[in-house]
């Protein structure tokens, strides 16, 4: 089996013949569906218990039809969104198929090979019935702070069973009634039960908000017209992406990436990806990837498909919220048993990191031929850190975690900004004052790193240094990829400073800990997180001198840096 290639069409086709629908109703229903998804998000955020959900927005909420086609999604974590159809499919299988679904049911599902994620990313799936007929699903996949893996967060698991408790598609609500036994299992299998209890409650409120809003829309138009209209919505979405692809000549474009390590063994893990443009279609060939790894950097198929959906809909989607139609012109080729199509129970806790990188490698591949269409590399990572411990005063367990912003790659359109990674584009990191209220630490700095950008006609965005000083003993798991592969430039632009993370003990020794599990941090010791800059775009010689001089005035660049990369500039 492992020698055969796996082809996956990212978007599902029409399910009924083209019907007479007016474009006006189509637009109205499309907007109403987006509004319904937005209502799910608001309900979730306002009731969630963990900052990872309400502040970081580490979740995705969306509405699918009964063929598991994406009707609408709320602006949230893009990388999650591309996986929800798999979650729904497997969740329904888990409870025994469609025939076992009732109105008011909510299924909990987090099996990593079905969600594409680590077990902490738990999906709640609610079937939506209209006049007794199953017509749709609402789903929210959200990151729980802890789900009783070997650690709250790990970089060194060797199989999925170390990674957390698995709920293989079981009913959390049956006909609207909470299934107490399952709920108790959920609460028992976490280090932070209050937080998980609150987040389950919030996710349930969210999927129900979506169910209610969707039913109103269907009731208004009637099921037949609603369905005909959604087909037209998908067709319109498909056209947006096809119109973009039409403008790119046929051809095959290759880009390469590299993981720092697989988490349990020394040595980098390089990979090549291919983007094939074929008329109005794009094929993302990920089959030439290395074999699946002994450490947790394997990316299960749903998240691999998501990288394709996210990267191409951000590139070709006219800045619009996508639906199923956007995905139809996209195809993914993988090879089972490899990094981007591992076989269970290969560990996959850090699935997200190869996925983040794949998105940028697709752009890198296209950039070899069409540099004006894509940005240079960003810092390339979300530089996640998860912290935990027991509070000295109260004895209560605490845990927190966040992604951190990096410099963005410069592009034809201008300099790069400093933001979170594309794959987490709507997410945020918490303000230091909120963090200090909640966690036993002081934050000593959140500052831009001088000279951390790639030079070019347009320069990359600057990276950021975060320094955390612990006020009580605690632990952290750090995940900073791309500490060895610096952010690349584009079209003659240069490389930027890569990510890294350092443990500062007793005020002196600095130990590199870019990817490390359960690092003990004693009271008074510090973590310095170095978030990389963005690559440059275009020849540095072409940069406007007044911009370079201003960058020096502002302290973004040092004189030494300017002498090295822009030697023609007189300071």
């Amino acid at each position: 089996m492992s020698s055969e290639l796996h082809h996956y069409k990212c978007g599902v086709d029409r399910k009924s013949n083209k019907a007479e629908v007016d474009p006006i109703t189509t637009q109205i229903v499309r907007n109403s569906l987006n509004s319904a998804a937005e209502q799910m998000k608001r309900a979730l955020c306002r009731t969630a218990m963990s900052p990872v959900i309400y502040d970081v927005l580490d979740f995705a909420g969306a509405i699918y039809d009964n063929h598991m086609r994406l009707l609408a999604q709320a602006p949230s974590l893009p990388l999650f969104m591309g996986t929800l159809n798999f979650c729904i499919e497997e969740a329904v299988k888990g409870v025994g198929g469609e025939s076992k679904l009732n109105e008011g049911d909510i299924i909990i599902y987090n099996s990593p090979y079905g969600t594409g994620s680590h077990p902490q990313d738990a999906a709640l799936v609610m079937p939506v019935f209209f006049d007794g007929e199953l017509i749709a699903y609402t789903a929210i996949k959200a990151h729980w702070l802890d789900i009783a893996g070997k650690e709250p967060y790990s970089t060194d698991t060797v199989d999925v069973f170390q990674e957390g408790t698995v709920y293989p598609g079981v009913k959390l609500y049956n006909k609207g009634e909470l299934v107490e036994d399952i709920y108790k299992m959920c609460i028992a299998n976490t280090r932070v039960p209050n937080s998980v209890a609150g987040d389950i409650n919030a996710q349930a409120i969210g999927v129900r908000a979506g169910e209610r809003a969707l039913k109103k829309i269907v009731a208004k138009y009637g099921l037949k017209k609603f369905r005909d209209t959604t087909e037209a919505i998908f067709d319109a979405g498909e056209m947006i992406v096809r119109n973009y692809l039409k403008k790119i000549p046929n051809g095959e474009y290759v880009g390469s990436g590299q993981m720092d390590s697989n988490g349990v063994e020394e040595g980098t893990v390089p990979f090549d990806l291919k983007v094939i443009i074929e008329d109005e279609k794009v094929i993302l060939d990920m089959s030439n990837a290395p074999p699946q790894q002994n450490g947790p950097i394997n990316c299960p198929l749903p998240s691999t498909v998501s990288t394709a959906r996210v990267s191409m809909s951000m590139l070709a989607g006219s800045n619009e919220p996508p639906n199923e139609g956007f995905f139809r012109p996209i195809e993914v080729i993988t090879k089972p048993g490899t990094l981007f199509h591992p076989i269970s129970p290969a560990p996959c806790f850090l699935y997200g990191w190869p996925a983040l990188q794949a998105i940028e490698v697709f752009y890198r591949a296209l950039g070899t031929k069409f540099p004006e269409n894509v940005p240079a590399s960003s810092g390339g990572c979300i530089n996640g850190i998860v912290w935990w411990g027991i509070r000295e005063e109260t004895g209560e367990p605490w845990a927190d975690g966040a992604p951190h912003p990096v410099g963005q790659g410069a592009s034809h359109f201008g300099d790069g900004a400093t933001c979170l990674h594309h794959a987490e584009s709507a997410t945020r990191f918490a303000p230091a004052e909120v963090w200090e209220n909640r966690n036993p630490w002081l934050i000593n700095k959140v500052e831009l790193i001088q000279d951390s950008c790639g030079a070019g006609k347009n320069r990359g965005g600057l990276g950021v240094n975060f320094e955390f000083e612990m006020l009580e003993d605690s632990f952290a798991t750090t995940v900073c990829e791309r500490s060895k592969l610096p952010p690349w430039g584009l079209n003659g632009g240069l490389e930027a400073l890569p990510n890294n993370c350092f443990l500062m003990e007793d005020g002196k020794t600095n130990r590199e800990v870019p990817k490390a599990t359960r690092v003990p941090i004693k009271k008074g010791n510090k973590i310095l997180l170095q978030c990389g800059g963005g690559g440059g775009y275009g020849d540095p010689k072409e940069r406007d001198h007044s911009k370079i001089i201003d960058d020096v005035k502002q302290g973004y660049l040092s004189k030494e840096y300017v002498n090295k990369y822009y030697p023609d500039v007189k300071l």
């Binding site: 474009p23 940005p375 959140v446 502002q554």
Partner: protein, 678 residues
């Protein structure tokens, strides 16, 4: 003691209204805004309506202005320097890491208001609880002071980490700046906001510093000019967080006025709701470029405590008016997927809708409405006659690409834009756990009464209220603005009786600060203290603001158990779900309201006489899905018992009444449209 003038400066027009208590008369007027010197239009419109003697009898001048907002939009304000804690000078540039346009790979944030070379770091540090970690280094401040003076900085924002819990370092830094010769304005984050989140608080402090000089200059000039022409009363300015503040306080705290643009309309809606026994309603304020909506519950608009303006966060109370880019001037077009859309691009005042004959070629909502007959014959109060042929051409330019006739395109534009408006209303109501069907729709603004039937239909709302002077309702709303001051402090406490004792100590300080902030000289009027707590289940971030009615002069009388029950009830109402764990108080809020003397309940409404050339028009009925004969009637001839189909004309707006509505009046000057099917 209740005669008053209201002047609201908008982007296109400056609206004027005066209420005279002696004869109970109301006069309204409108004049083009003079953006370079906004006070010119104000003085002009006051002078042409009131002579010196009349003016000297007016007690209050109530004002809404976009001067502060424009300073931000145009980025024309003071040269601001920032003093911040060592290690944090870049937070205003790093922000929170998110993208405003999440699907845009190339998005760039707006540049920070203070360039990096003017963001100076000071050695000092506080813990979250306000205790000192590192003392303020006075030498750092002295050196910064010199740097600011050398660089010509004329306004300084001081924002230290955790200063919301202890303002001593900021006060000391300010004192040091002054002692060392800094002559400009100084804004302190701890006085701007007592709430946490450094990016948001720092940015708000910078905004305050940025607009302060421009705002106080403007207010001084306006005050002097009005005094010169004979005004002797009190000057009040609309606050973003509802109510009004004196010009003096506004000069000190200009950030509190930045988001006041749509507030007057919401305030007017609140006042109207109170007159109607606190009827819950939602507003539909449709202007040229935007649709603004606000939920009115228990007679008051909803207040939020953190907003966003031109891409910058503002940590200040604001009336929760949500806007979308949908108005009379919104342009319809085809998107990349071949679907028809409307807005957010607007044809603005120039070129305006195609039918205005000012060179506009793209179809707008106004073109669509006019083409369908909804604007009657299309003769505007200004004398302008709309051109139907140009409207048709514009509609065809888009419709023909998707095989739609001009007629169907026009219908489509109205349906799409009203559905967008309905979606916006759904989001703000459902967020509060309110079903829009339980509300009344209050429609105003130039195009609100026109769109009201369609919006109500989408939301299944049964009753529509069209207030008097519906096109100028915002100015009308100004007249009712009471004096209001707000203050808040973040201190996270687990709810207990001890915690409530602490809240009461906090409240005492908050009220003391408010009293010191401004001496209110309307001694005859009662000061009403209001208390609210931001509460949540422990672990949550978002809070519910619970108004506490049971307090004595600002001191909470409740015990913690009763308060918890109240919170649980409110939580269940909002989210439909029950929890029972530890409750936290996050922020404590104090406000003082001084009610202005009431206007007479039955203000005499004088609607202009409108000349009508034809008494009927063939107009599209969305209910019948075909054209019907609509009567055309001036608003001052409307009597209870009439019914649609009808087009009602007044000088500032047109009301479209479909065949399925009955029309009533209520003695307060409102038109009430009731859906016949109920």
């Amino acid at each position: 003691m209740s005669s008053r003038i209201g002047v609201d400066i908008g982007g296109t027009f400056t609206d004027f209204i005066v209420y005279d208590e002696n004869d109970n008369k109301v006069i309204i007027d409108k004049i083009p805004t003079t953006p370079a010197d906004p006070e010119k239009a104000v003085i002009e419109v006051v002078k042409r309506n009131l002579n010196k003697e009349q003016l000297s009898n007016i007690d209050f001048f109530l004002h809404g202005t976009t001067v502060g907002l424009n300073a931000l939009l145009e980025r024309k304000g003071s040269k601001v320097g920032l003093l911040c804690t060592k290690g944090f000078r870049d937070i205003i540039e790093i922000r929170r890491g998110d993208r405003d346009e999440m699907y845009n790979l190339f998005w760039q944030p707006p540049p920070p208001l203070v360039p990096r070379y003017l963001r100076l770091e000071i050695e000092e540090r506080l813990f979250a609880n306000g205790k000192v970690h590192t003392n303020l280094n006075i030498n750092d401040v002295k050196e910064s002071c010199k740097h600011f003076i050398d660089e010509g900085v004329n306004s300084v924002a001081i924002a230290f980490m955790n200063a919301y819990s202890n303002k001593e370092h900021e006060l000391l830094a300010k004192k040091t700046l002054i002692e060392n010769g800094f002559k400009g304005e100084i804004s302190l984050s701890s006085l701007v906001s007592g709430e946490y989140r450094e990016y948001e608080r720092t940015t708000t402090t910078i905004i305050d510093a940025f607009v302060k000089a421009r705002m106080s200059n403007y207010l001084d000039t306006l005050k002097n000019s009005l005094n010169d022409i004979g005004f002797k009363g009190s000057f009040l300015l609309t606050r973003s967080g509802s109510g009004s503040m004196t010009f003096d306080e506004a000069s000190e705290r200009p950030f509190e006025t930045i988001m006041s643009g749509p507030v007057a309309g919401a305030e007017g809606a609140g006042e109207l709701s109170r007159k109607l026994k606190n009827t819950n309603m939602v507003t539909a304020d449709v202007g040229g470029t935007s649709f603004d909506t606000c939920l009115i519950l228990d007679g008051r608009p909803q207040i939020q405590f953190e907003g966003k303006i031109v891409g910058l966060p503002l940590q200040s109370p604001w009336v929760d008016v949500r806007s979308i880019g949908a108005g009379g001037g919104s342009i319809a077009y085809l998107d990349d997927g071949g679907l028809l859309r409307s807005g957010p691009q607007s044809a603005g005042a120039v070129p305006g809708p195609a039918c205005y004959e000012r060179g506009g070629k793209q179809p707008t909502t106004t073109d669509a409405a006019f083409y369908l007959g909804m604007l009657g014959e299309g003769k505007l109060a200004s004398g302008l006659q709309l051109n139907k042929k140009l409207a048709e051409d514009a509609l065809n330019s888009v419709g023909s690409k998707i095989n739609l006739s001009a007629f169907d395109t026009a219908k489509g534009i109205l349906k799409i834009s009203s559905a967008n408006m309905a979606d916006a209303i759904r989001e703000i109501t459902i967020e509060q756990g309110i079903d829009p069907r339980e509300l009344k729709l209050l429609a105003f603004g130039g195009a609100g009464p026109l769109m009201s039937n369609l919006i109500a239909e989408e939301l299944e709302i049964k009753e529509i209220i069209i207030p008097p002077y519906s096109g100028n309702f915002s100015a009308w709303g100004l007249l009712g603005a009471d004096l209001l001051q707000m203050n808040a402090k973040t201190k996270i406490l687990r709810l207990s009786d001890d915690a409530l004792t602490e809240c009461n100590t906090i409240l005492e300080n908050l009220f003391k600060e408010l009293e010191e902030r401004q001496k209110i000289d309307f001694t005859a009027n009662e000061k009403i203290k209001e208390v609210a707590l931001d509460m949540r289940w422990m672990g949550q971030e978002h809070t519910i603001t619970l108004k506490i009615d049971d307090h004595s002069d600002g001191k909470i009388n409740l015990d913690s158990e009763t308060l918890k029950q109240n919170f649980m009830k409110e939580y269940e109402k909002t989210f439909g779900s029950k929890l029972d764990t530890v409750v936290e108080v996050v922020s404590t809020r104090a406000s003082i309201r001084v009610n202005l003397p009431r206007k007479s309940e039955s203000g005499k409404i004088e609607e202009d006489n409108i000349e009508i050339s034809s008494s009927t028009i063939s107009c599209f009925s969305f209910n019948a899905d075909k054209n019907l004969e609509f009567k055309i009637i001036p608003r001052n001839e409307i009597k209870s018992g009439m019914s649609g189909p009808m087009i009602i004309l007044e000088s500032t707006a047109v009301t479209y009444v479909d065949e399925n509505y009955n029309i009533n009046t209520d003695g307060l000057g409102n038109l009430i449209l009731n859906n016949k099917e109920n």
